[in-house]
Symmetry: C2
Subunit: 245 residues, 2 copies
């Protein structure tokens, strides 16, 4: 099932795809998805960020087997950095060089705390493409990552949420800049998998509906400059495109 949020003349609406229309629903996070009857053609609909997180977390150093030798670690990103498909990532020259990072993003569906591995599937609403934009020269001077991770538009997510992914731990990720492939990898390259991540994170804090976990970049980053376009494709989900300004 494909869930999204679209812009309509009367405001943003949560929707589910029914063939060639987006069917408006009451609430993506309700136990049963209730359609209102309102529909919009898929063609021409403007997609927004598919969720509105209160909490956005990213996994630090989670890109290869060596990272399992140290404990998992996460950082928080400002919820104000979240943007949707087509919205601009705004670079600030003062922040230095910037990379886009293509990552599988988990969208949380319900309150989650102290999860066991068995409970993890039950709290995941679905999956989207995340771009953990990073001003990487700032990381070197701020180990909290507050300076590097929170520029305007630094967390593109979308284009939609796929609720059914057979193998989230083995999905191809491709990062293109201006149409040229810069990185190709798989979520199988992550040190800590999705279940381990959510067990770890919820042992320390509460996640809730709409929250996003960026699962880490398995060598899926690419340097960008203003005027370019970033396209991130994840197998089974789709392509998230954003201009860099």
């Amino acid at each position: 099932m494909r869930l999204a949020r679209i812009d309509t003349p009367t405001g943003p609406r949560p929707v589910v795809q029914d063939g060639d229309v987006w069917a408006v629903v009451v609430d993506h996070y309700a136990p049963v998805l209730e359609r209102t009857g309102e529909t919009h053609a898929v063609d021409g609909a403007r997609l927004l960020a598919p969720c509105e997180p209160r909490v956005v977390l990213g996994m630090a150093h989670n890109s290869g087997p060596a990272d399992r030798l140290v404990p998992p670690q996460a950082f928080a990103k400002s919820a104000r950095t979240v943007i949707g498909p087509g919205e601009p990532v705004r670079l600030d020259p003062a922040a230095g060089k910037v990379v886009v990072e293509g990552e599988l993003a988990i969208v949380i569906g319900r309150t989650a705390r102290h999860l066991t591995p068995e409970q993890v599937p039950g709290v995941i609403l679905g999956w989207t493409v995340g771009n953990d934009v990073t001003a990487y020269e700032q990381s070197a001077v701020d180990d909290k990552f507050t300076q590097s991770k929170n520029g305007d538009g630094f967390t593109p997510v979308g284009p939609w949420i796929e609720t059914d992914l057979a193998h989230p731990d083995d999905l191809a990720i491709e990062v293109r800049v201006d149409g040229v492939t810069q990185a190709e990898a798989s979520t199988s390259g992550l040190a800590w998998d999705v279940v381990e991540q959510l067990v770890y994170l919820t042992s320390h804090l509460t996640l809730g509906p709409g929250d996003v976990v960026l699962t880490g970049s398995p060598s899926t980053s690419a340097h960008v400059i203003p005027g370019q376009r970033s396209d991130i494709t994840i197998e089974g989900i789709g392509t998230l495109t954003n201009p860099i300004t």
Copy 2:
């Protein structure tokens, strides 16, 4: 002027104090405060967290002159950790020892980015008491502070927002546990003052209406255990009380 949010039979309401009543307003963040005409007696009203931040930042190492020798630094707290007066701070035995930290909290009133010192007063809605609860043994194993700062109820704020404070950089702070004073200090003990903090923060990210900046703990922390009560008083604002469970 004193702004708050209160619980009413028909839901939470933003209010302003007019003598012995809380007068409901349309929006704390509107250019002009518009009263709806609905009022509630101050006596007996249940206060909620006075704002609903999307972004909560805390200043790291900001407690004395030596901290000016290193650059300012900030960390993000989950917006889901925010609670109001009287709500419980929930300790998780697995997280180890916990301290409360009494801090002056800035409540942002409008979108703020790349501020000059002169622009800072114009983006501040007001001031409240913040408690930057910290599981400090976790700080030692997670330099991102994600593990130490995000337990349930780890960011009490309130009891209300004072919009007029003559000297935010010289306010007495007192921290009491079960009524016994554990720490007394002043915001004058902060390394980087309020203006410097907001110039620094907004050079890296955007803040917006309702966001909270915890300005740092000038030696205003106290160890707490379940069953105790924390009272934090800041001169010119009031006292924020929370049970520890």
